[in-house]
């Protein structure tokens, strides 16, 4: 808001009007962004240096929260879980999204139907999807174990097993996200000039070579972009875990945001939660910057 207080030396009356109405157009949106993102981001950093809580008067503890985080084995487990989830979701989602996009880019019959079906999970409410998948994974009446039984295989305790719970969540996330990857890859494919393909075909290139030598390299920018979106998104996973496993069993699905939520609203340790959120923010920022760098290099 400080930007606007410097009254513009109006050279012409019209430019003054332009200034004035531009600020009027911008003010509501800027106030909301200020209250919902800018101030909270700054507040998070400040709060992370304090022991703010409902339980006692606040005082500055400086880097104590961060020192505590480093030695907190629960937090380390959450970082590990988050990393496993992020890698487990991001790579298959991108691979499947790319395959679907390449398949549906041409004049294939029924491509609109396929695109709509693949995009449907993206639209579904996370909670509805979570509830449906809980049923799908249900050990006693769920369809997966039902199918296994009919094939004569032993049933699995999907979400109830410390070894399988995170993987089960990952499978569901891939189901939900690969429509996003497909859409973004479709956009990328439309930007590749058609004559490259024609030339390659005239030279007798095989489908496989065209895919790996032309399509994949030409999409490298899109791939990096998509990777960043997916990393930023999966780093923040919360709703599915809250509904489906509540962090369990044995903390095997506790992620950073989930632990942050518990620390803040379960134990009202806002300062410690803010330190977690700052670490998460820095990690996301780091990935975004690396991604942007790689993308720039890809362009030149």
């Amino acid at each position: 808001m400080a930007l606007q207080s410097s009254t513009a030396p109006a050279r012409r009356p019209q430019s003054f009007t332009q200034n004035w109405s531009a600020y009027a157009f911008l003010t509501p949106a800027l106030i909301i962004l200020f209250l919902s993102l800018l101030l909270p981001a700054a507040a998070t950093v400040v709060m992370s240096l304090t022991d703010i809580s409902f339980l006692r008067p606040t005082s500055f503890v400086w880097f104590d929260n961060y020192i505590k985080l480093v030695s907190d084995s629960r937090f380390r487990q959450a970082v590990g879980n988050t990393a496993y989830y992020t890698v487990g979701v991001t790579l298959p989602t991108m691979a499947l999204g790319l395959l679907a996009a390449v398949a549906l880019n041409g004049k294939l019959r029924g491509r609109i139907v396929f695109r709509t079906i693949f995009y449907l999970p993206v639209l579904t409410s996370l909670i509805a999807a979570a509830v449906v998948w809980m049923y799908v994974y249900e050990p006693y009446s769920g369809p997966i174990n039902g199918t296994l039984a009919q094939l004569g295989l032993p049933p699995q305790p999907w979400l109830q097993s410390p070894n399988l719970a995170m993987t089960s969540l990952i499978v569901m996330a891939i189901w939900r996200d690969f429509g996003t990857a497909m859409i973004i890859y479709l956009a990328g494919l439309q930007d590749i000039p058609k004559d490259i393909y024609e030339a390659a075909r005239l030279d007798g290139a095989k489908t496989k070579d065209i895919f790996f030598r032309i399509t994949v390299p030409m999409l490298s920018n899109v791939t990096f972009y998509l990777m960043i979106i997916l990393i930023v998104q999966t780093f923040q996973v919360f709703g599915a875990i809250y509904v489906m496993t509540n962090g369990g069993p044995l903390g095997s699905t506790e992620t950073i945001v989930f632990q942050m939520y518990q620390t803040a609203f379960g134990y009202t340790e806002f300062g410690y939660a803010a330190a977690m959120s700052t670490v998460l923010f820095l990690a996301i920022l780091l990935f975004s910057l690396i991604g942007t760098k790689l993308m720039r290099r890809g362009e030149s």
Binding site: L26, A29, Q150
Partner: protein, 307 residues
Amino acid sequence: MSDIAQASAPAVPAVSFRQRWWPLAERAIGYGLLIFAALATITPFLWMVSTSFKTDAETFQFPPNFIPNSLVWQNYIDAIAGPDTGRQLINSLIFALGSTASNMVFCALAGYALARMQFKGKNLIFALVVGLLMVPAQSQIVPVFLIVQRIPFAGGNDWLGNGGTGLLNTYWGMILPTAATPFGIFMMRQFFSRIPVEYEESARLDGAKTFTIFWRILLPLARPAMAVLGVLSFQSAWNDFIWPLILTSQREMATLQIGLQLLQSGPDARWNVVMAMATLITLPIIIVFLFAQRYVIDGAVTSGVKG
């Protein structure tokens, strides 16, 4: 299939067996994989709908039936007749429509200013909007909660924001933090930048004022972008879970998403009723999407951001 025949039609007289049939086989394999993937994608939805029509006993049958023995509409009635469902529907609608309307108004105004007007600090403000795109909203819920709680003069607060509950458990509190997004502003700016400047110039020559130009000329041209923004905002608020969960502690303020979670985690949860509720919650989004499908997919493609 006929187009394949045509594609290979400008035939060099002798086509070998392999040249002739290989593309067909490739195509068949491709179709097979696509159909398999489509079935895998849609199966959870089919299970949701199928379970929503089962009797209680059939729900617990093992192995489960894919096609229910009879259509039990009572599950839908039970889902709708829940003591809080009506209230939750109203809450969800007010939240989603309020957030959608404010996003469409505020993001369009701000996007237009950033695309078309000259003013001091323009580059700085645009850089700020782009920078905020990167702030993970999910990790900011704690301070947003505290800010909403401490809004001055609301909910019994004094001018310093002390004493009361601020906007907690109110519609304003729910809508305000979602009322404009950096993504919405960015998308509208990109769209307005692409509209030829001549439209505005001729209107200005005719003596139209800035707001008239925006309202009468630019906004009607921006209908596709507004449709995308509207659908995405509606979808994001309708599906939001974490924010209403944290903001509302009172039962009367819960949204449908919270209601579904409560229904599922309740002591006597019935999968068939839970699935009926999940089906009902998913339907509006799918209906909105089918109406605006072309706009939404195009918009998601051109802006490259998750829908």
